[in-house]
């Protein structure tokens, strides 16, 4: 996302990121970012917690109105009562064993459901598929 942010800024478009990976955001040097100390997959908050998401969005977006270049702030929200959830993230055990929770890198479309697959196939058949029209692929 850092590479994308830099190209946008060079094109005259301001960017502001939300990040759950502070070290990565620092390494790529996003121009403006707000760090949320939540697990991966929850960049903008918790499910069905609209109020939290709006607070996160406001805290991040208001960085646009500051003149400080290259700014990374810490948001004050916590995922849980304690930080034990961090212990198992990409953990390598003392005997050198790691587990891989990532899914196989398959090279065909991975639909959330069979219904989605059918709907995409229908839009293909009717010639309305944006992918086929070259607009959105």
């Amino acid at each position: 996302m850092g590479l994308i942010s830099h190209q946008l800024e060079e094109a005259g478009i301001a960017t502001v990121g939300i990040s759950t990976a502070k070290d990565i955001t620092k390494a790529v040097r996003m121009p403006r970012a707000a760090f949320l100390d939540f697990p991966q997959g929850f960049t903008a908050g918790k499910p069905k917690n609209t109020k939290l998401t709006i607070e996160i969005l406001k805290s991040a977006l208001k960085l646009v109105d500051t003149s400080i270049d290259e700014i990374l702030i810490d948001l004050e929200f916590h995922w849980a009562e304690n930080d034990e959830w961090k212990d198992s993230v990409f953990n390598v055990s003392s005997d050198g064993q790691a587990t891989d929770d990532r899914l196989t890198r398959l090279d065909n479309p991975q639909y959330q459901s069979d219904q989605d697959r059918k709907e995409a196939q229908i839009s293909h058949k009717d010639g309305e598929c944006l992918v086929c029209m070259g607009i959105d692929y």
Binding site: Q7, G41, I54, L103, Q110
Partner: protein, 165 residues
């Protein structure tokens, strides 16, 4: 205990060690050595047109889903789309939250609220969704990023909210 907080996870160290233990090819982390470009908008946020780029593998029902092997394509998703019509697919993160409520990786409803409240001026017609975890920096730099930037220029967007996963 709420006062016993750990430091932010050092993902680069942990993923490097984890991949090493698993015998995987290492991800080539991008480390920028120079100050990033920085553009201060000429108008306040409350007058800006805001877009969004998210890397959580979000697509709309009816669109072709992303695949998991360095997919450098993107999907344009209408900013007025129903949250219930959006899906998430990705190989690298826990999808349970996103599939319960897409707003946790694609805050489409929150942005609409910000517009209604006047916190932002207006919203892009389309937000842009792609995959994260792409191994090839060159593909992102030369292929994906320029396309995303061009879409933002075409829509005359002032500010882009970036939502990585």
């Amino acid at each position: 205990m709420s006062d016993q907080r750990q430091e932010a996870i050092r993902y680069i160290e942990r993923i490097t060690a984890s991949y090493d233990a698993l015998g995987y090819d290492q991800y080539q982390w991008h480390h920028r050595s120079t100050k990033p470009p920085f553009l201060k908008p000429e108008k306040p946020l409350a007058e800006c047109k805001v877009g969004m780029i998210a890397t959580g593998g979000v697509y709309k029902a009816g669109q072709v889903a992303f695949h998991y092997k360095d997919d450098t394509s993107y999907r344009a998703i209408s900013s007025v789309a129903e949250a219930s019509s959006l899906r998430a697919t990705h190989f690298a993160y826990d999808l349970s939250g996103a599939r319960e409520d897409i707003n946790v990786v694609f805050p489409i409803e929150g942005l609409r609220t910000l517009k209604q409240e006047g916190f932002v001026g207006s919203l892009a017609n389309n937000y842009l969704a792609c995959m994260g975890g792409i191994y090839s920096q060159r593909a992102v730099t030369n292929d994906l990023a320029p396309q995303l930037v061009q879409r933002c220029i075409d829509e005359e967007i002032d500010v882009v909210l970036l939502v990585p996963v």
